[in-house]
Point group: D3
Chain length 196, copies 6
């Protein structure tokens, strides 16, 4: 197991970890307990307690709050967007999450490599088509694109969530790329067993 603080999580020298507030400390503890490590993206943000807190609040709400999208679907969007952007950090961390949530060691690879090869159900295919177009050519989204999501069974609130998750990883991918953020090595080994 990797020890937090052992090496720098990015190519930037951002100074020491800030004194964390109680909520962030508890969040770090929960990560250690559940994953065995603190994700490097959190360690990277930890040079500034306010930035860390804002990041945790947003990502937690997006990925875990009530939504018409399942948690697996939100992780699939994360990975499909990160594949377009070739983001090493997010493909590693969220690829593991897809493997875990899908209970399928191949699904994360499939989405990370090319979701079009995954023979997804129509609903998830439409969801990722939208997320990928939004990533590649946001200026070309039109009402017809939203209408295609509605035809696939999504409500307008679901469309907001698809947009918000796809948007968020277009942010995270870029912060990771700009700073050369390095994923915790442990992610590579999660949920790789054939039994899922």
């Amino acid at each position: 197991m990797e020890k937090p603080g052992e090496d720098r999580p990015t190519a930037l020298d951002l100074g020491p970890q800030a004194e964390l507030d109680a909520a962030s400390s508890a969040y770090f503890d929960k990560c250690l307990e559940k994953l065995g490590f603190v994700p490097n993206v959190l360690r990277a943000y930890a040079f500034d307690a306010a930035k860390l807190k804002a990041f945790i609040d947003m990502v937690d709400n997006l990925m875990l709050a009530d939504s018409g999208l399942t948690k697996l679907e939100r992780e699939m969007i994360a990975v499909a967007v990160s594949a377009v952007n070739h983001c090493h950090y997010c493909l590693t961390a969220h690829g593991a999450a897809v493997r875990q949530r899908a209970g399928d060691p191949l699904m994360g690879e499939l989405i990370a490599q090319n979701y079009r090869a995954a023979n997804l159900p129509r609903r998830q295919k439409a969801m990722l088509d939208f997320a990928v177009k939004l990533t590649e050519a946001p200026d070309k989204i039109e009402e017809a694109d939203r209408e295609a999501l509605r035809m696939a069974g999504f409500s307008d609130r679901d469309i907001w969530d698809i947009a918000a998750v796809a948007g968020f990883f277009n942010m995270s991918n870029r912060i990771a790329a700009a700073t050369e953020m390095r994923p915790n090595a442990d992610y590579h080994f999660l949920a790789r067993d054939k039994q899922g």
Copy 2:
């Protein structure tokens, strides 16, 4: 002046405004007082109090907290990124912010149209070159790109802030595009006077 709630801020039907917590209500009041209106992006998020709060916390920290970047520089990044993504909402709202903060009614237009035509000082040119490359081809950022920022006088913490602001508007641009977010008309008229 536009009245909040008069018309929907996006193409989505997201239901009524949630009951806002005290902090968000105060934030809306401050907008009304300072701008004369509540920015539509906040009205759009207001269907869900937790999402609204997370958004306000992040954007406020990014654009207003202490940083090696001036507030004008952060708005310039917002506009240069939004120009690449052809984001109607952000070009309108943050174009106005650049005009205001620069005290120059032409500067917002210049950055929104093509920052390369603005004959910017080397520091700001390097900053926007990085932000635009990060927007167009995040997978191609390398150590040489960070080094170019350091050579232009930026610290590693400044690089984080450039990345974080550029990343954030890559998120916001996409949420605005996905939902057809409409800027408040008042933005168009702000800070247009020749005297600045």
Copy 3:
């Protein structure tokens, strides 16, 4: 008001203004009378009387001669094409023209930022879709694209005019970019009033 000759209209040193023929001189006078200044694109061309005359003859015919397209529609094409090419000069000069001809201070901004956000009537949406595809991927235009214009009510002569205006601004945008052509500052302040 800016005085002609006060500063160079491009980054190139093209020598002094040529002796203009009577028609071009009259044209410059008309600009001064109607706009209060000579557009910098004309000042840029004025180093060579024959080039200036050929440019004026073409642009005048394209934008003002009888056509199935209104003058506003031709300006909208100019701005939509210039938005793809991020042309500072043409977005400024023709953005002002759209504001003026539309009697709407927001319309120029909308087209300059992203015409897809403007909720245009079907006819104008089809016209700009064609002009933008012709700008981005001229090799991919096929009979189906012309047929879409005919279905939106355009005649074959109208299609010629759409092509000719879109083509022309693909030329002008590039000459402006190659020479760093600077728009007259006055354009920024034209037709900005709320009343239109």
Copy 4:
């Protein structure tokens, strides 16, 4: 030999040829005498005498007037730009012109296929590098690009001419694509002999 008027020069039905003024008639006669045919681009424009005249005046000035660029160099720009845009009409017509002016039946092919394979002298390589960047990404031209032309021996007036010719064919390529303009078949057979 092809007879003028035998078949339509584009996919558009633009009506009958207009009554040409004396200058345009003389120009058509000169083409017939020198080439044995009237180029279809002129036949296409001939539905409107004013548009035809403006086109002839501009193209004639660009390609034949005094310039620091040789006539062959201007044709090379025409072909290199048309190669980027995959323009059937201009590659055929101006490919023939390069073969003729170069006295080299292979040169036209080389530029039409990929000028980088032509082992051109530094001056012409720099000229086409600029013209092609201006075609592909006009918004990314910067002072360094102009400076590279100056280092290769071009004056500022030469830079104007490079820009003007490259710009013009970005217009012509698009008008040809939009209208499916068909080159006269005779162009294919011009200047194909091994002796040049």
Copy 5:
């Protein structure tokens, strides 16, 4: 006529020609007899007998073995793919092959410049649309693309052959580009006569 060995077929110094096995020697002889020269791509590979043999075996099977595609159709794919990749070598060599096999001196040019301008029968248009999409965006091929080929009359084995030929020239184009492979000059003069 060009003499084999007179000059290097690429920009690389790959050493002397290997001792060829009997099959490759016979193949070279057949080229000399039929074409009057050994294609430079074979001369380039000849530094290594095993690589040369593998290349000949594959290209010969692809272009000449029994197939639901005619030999002309396979050459058309070669040229359409090479046009996307702007490959000087393959456009020259296979452009000549299209002229010869089509018995039409213009057809090679048309496909090399822009196959969309060729008014091809539906079958061949569908075939080249697939080959070009596969070249430009292989990751975006979906079942609908295969289905379009089936609707145009192609069997699944034909689809394999379209893919294999398009794939092969995406390889060859890149080897030619990487090594600056130079086509034999004689190709330029083949099948240029008006009579075809």
Copy 6:
């Protein structure tokens, strides 16, 4: 373990496996012995014995014959090219090969996600920069690109091999995409152990 023939290796119905010649049969047996399965790409080609043999001969020579590139380096090129093309089949099969040959369960992931994040030695970074440029923009390769490889220690014969391997996977990626080739599931589980 997967049984050969259990399910179709592509989306195409290519008929039954052809009668294999002795060499191909032996090759299949060797795969079964070493890997425990016959790679689906071979099963896909097996509908035609001649095509299968030509494919095996070429890929075997490229990946296993003597070369200035190590076998690992050739697999790294395969994966970096396949990452650009988002090829599910090749990323899976050759990602496993990189993990095995590198004795490093993370290396395959790194190259498949973004080789720029791998902090490779200068030699391998230069090699993959060339392979990726050749994949993305083959028409833009120039002598300077070859020179960069020479400066990083590669001979002209090594450059041929880099080009040939990169070219080959641009072919394979496209055949896999065109046919929806499915990797054997076993690849996912190879060489995943932390110990390498």
